[in-house]
């Protein structure tokens, strides 16, 4: 298990749980959440980052070793997402960018077409692009062509904690897309994160469920463990990667000779 790593944008990752920085009652808890969860990747909304602030800044709470994943939350189209990504890089937030293009504040559903457009522009500029999208095979394929480093399908709309409502669609992405699949948004309970990992997702991103728990640190630890458990289940079983698993001994062996 110790060698079970995966790679995004040239960085080798051991933890398959990505965390977030939004919605905490106190950002001071973020270092403990990172530690308890074991997470190595953390997303931060650039719109909330204020490097000029004298009154504290979310960036001050992110441990050094974490891979920063600034997101383009607030972007309503590809052009805004591109501008936010460039600002993030100029502000010293690195080359990773999570594309969130949402022009629907009622349901917060991502705009696939604009996301693909932004991904293409930013990948060409050397960004490591992780787009947040609906669990849609065609959008995911277009993202592969556009140069995405991973695909982040939603489990359910952002902040709903409704779990893996898109289960079947995510399963198809896991089977068909040759990039890391990180289930993002909607996961409300460790058991749901575990299920995503059992299905063969490469990682999950959990923010609301941890940040809004009564005890975020304990919840972070629970998620860390659930993700590992799900991953181990995936690796140890016949795996869900192929729905039509090969039978361990041929079912037509009794016929004798080559089937």
């Amino acid at each position: 298990m110790s060698k079970d790593t995966f790679e995004i944008g040239g960085r080798t990752l051991t933890s398959r749980l990505f965390t977030g920085t939004g919605k905490y009652g106190d950002d001071g808890v973020i270092p403990e959440v990172c530690e308890a969860s074991g997470s190595e990747v953390i997303t931060v909304a650039l719109r909330r980052v204020d490097l000029e602030s004298a009154t504290g800044n979310v960036m001050d709470f992110i441990p050094e070793h974490m891979q920063l994943l600034p997101n383009t939350s607030g972007a309503r189209d590809a052009d805004e997402a591109v501008r936010i990504a460039r600002l993030a890089r100029a502000m010293g937030c690195g080359d990773w960018i999570k594309i969130e293009v949402i022009s629907d504040n009622r349901y917060l559903l991502p705009d696939g077409y604009e996301t693909v457009r932004a991904t293409e522009i930013l990948a060409n500029e050397g960004f490591t692009v992780l787009p947040y999208v609906n669990a849609d095979l065609y959008v995911a394929k277009a993202l592969v062509d556009a140069g995405a480093a991973a695909v982040m399908p939603l489990g359910a709309p952002i902040g709903t904690n409704r779990g893996l409502k898109t289960r079947e669609m995510v399963r198809i992405l896991i089977e068909e897309i040759d990039l890391p699949i990180v289930v993002d948004a909607g996961i409300g309970r460790p058991s749901e994160a575990c299920e995503a990992m059992e299905m063969g997702a490469d990682a999950v991103l959990v923010n609301t469920a941890i940040a809004t728990a009564s005890d975020p640190v304990m919840m972070a630890r629970a998620f860390g463990r659930a993700v590992r458990a799900g991953r181990e289940a995936y690796l140890s079983g016949p795996g869900a990667k192929r729905v039509l698993a090969d039978a361990s001994s041929p079912l037509t062996g009794f016929l004798g000779g080559a089937a």
Binding site: G25, R47, N161
Partner: protein, 378 residues
């Protein structure tokens, strides 16, 4: 499009008595609904709901944390001018009131901005009276450019404008607008606004929609509770917000719940909206529109503001002076030129400390400006 015809339909089918038709069972059903209907929203605001406030509170609190986390965005108003050509009977800036009138020069705007920015606030709401000849779009544009040096987010609460005028301000760096309809009751509106440009009910009613079209990122609406029948005004405010959310999903819609406050004039409000009524409206709104922003001003006192935090509040003002030039020059507030009396006079630091002690994080910055000129060359 316009909310007006829809509003008329609702208003016609809405004799006040209907609120009394709801039963506790209707309210329970509304509380348990995943997506509340207009009928549910009415039930939640009906007298029958007053015995079920605690159940409403639990759901409102859960929905708020789920969608917004334990965070509250802070902003402060900056009064640029108190010159006004209107006769709103309930307002201290009413042009017939004999108060000292002034408007800030761009240098003074810069000084006020710097004084406010030093408190940590990064989100500013600029206000003027209604005097387009003096404090019109050109002036607001110039002020915004000055203030953007200090604030990533500048919003306006000024007179109603055309779509083109809003678009001009968006280009200048304004990213939010607040527009209070005061009352949705058209007849009462005419009485409360006897003279002046604000008399045009319909032009004001459609202003938030024009702002959405012009590309404002945040549009905040509200009725001044107490001017007319509060249930009716509250209902129509919620329906107006729902209409805007539905038709302009790319705009962040927020609702303010201001109650009438004492002011320099001698007009007294028609209704007293009690704390209980106010809380009921706040929670009904949260249950009806789980993702709508809800703003509470310093018209409310500190204790009440803290108590209602978990029930749906997402934005608050802090460190408020309603006097022109009241931030850089602390003596300027003493002449009683403010628009209304505030109830929560705490400093930004004090408000933040109170939020933190209740487990909430004050958010100072919630937007990264994307001006073309800033993005260029990066």
């Amino acid at each position: 499009m316009s909310f007006y015809p829809l509003m008329e339909t609702y208003a016609e089918g809405l004799p006040d008595a209907r609120f009394d038709d709801f039963t506790e069972q209707d309210v329970r059903r509304a509380i348990n609904r995943t997506t509340a209907t207009v009928e549910d929203f009415m039930a939640l605001m009906s007298p029958a709901a007053s015995s079920l406030l605690e159940e409403m509170a639990r759901k409102a609190s859960r929905l708020t944390v789920q969608h917004f986390g334990r965070t509250v965005s802070l902003f402060t108003p900056l009064y640029l001018a108190n010159i006004c050509t209107n006769h709103c009977v309930y307002c201290g800036f009413n042009c017939t009131n004999r108060i000292h009138r002034s408007m800030l020069s761009l240098e003074e705007v810069d000084a006020e901005g710097a004084a406010i920015a030093a408190t940590g606030l990064r989100n500013l709401l600029i206000l003027t009276g209604d005097a387009p000849a003096k404090t019109g779009v050109d002036y607001l544009e110039a002020c915004t450019r000055v203030l953007n040096r200090h604030f990533p987010s500048v919003s306006i609460e000024v007179f109603a404008m055309t779509e083109e005028e809003y678009a001009r301000l968006v280009r200048a760096g304004v990213d939010g607008m607040t527009m209070f309809q005061e009352t949705y009751d058209e007849k009462l509106y005419a009485v409360l606004h006897p003279k002046g440009p604000k008399r045009d009910y319909r032009f004001r009613l459609d202003a938030p929609e024009r702002a959405c079209r012009a590309g404002m990122r945040v549009v905040n609406i509200g009725a001044l509770l107490g001017l007319g029948d509060w249930r009716r005004d509250a209902l129509l405010t919620g329906l107006h917000a729902a209409y805007l959310m539905h038709n302009y999903p790319e705009t962040d819609i927020a609702v303010s719940l201001p109650r009438m406050r004492p002011h320099v004039g001698d007009w007294e409000p028609a209704t007293i909206v009690s704390d209980r009524d106010m809380v009921q409206f706040l929670m009904a709104l949260r249950l009806f529109l789980p993702r709508v922003g809800i703003t509470i001003s310093t018209r409310e006192n500190a204790e009440f503001r803290e108590n209602i935090l978990p029930l749906g509040v997402t934005r608050m003002s802090a460190g408020v002076s309603t006097a022109v030039g009241g931030h850089a020059d602390e003596t300027s507030g003493e002449e009683n030129t403010g628009q209304f009396d505030i109830s929560d006079a705490r400093s930004v630091d004090e408000v933040c400390a109170a939020l933190r002690s209740r487990g909430y994080q004050p958010v100072f910055k919630d937007w990264e400006p994307l001006f073309e000129t800033r993005g260029e060359g990066i």
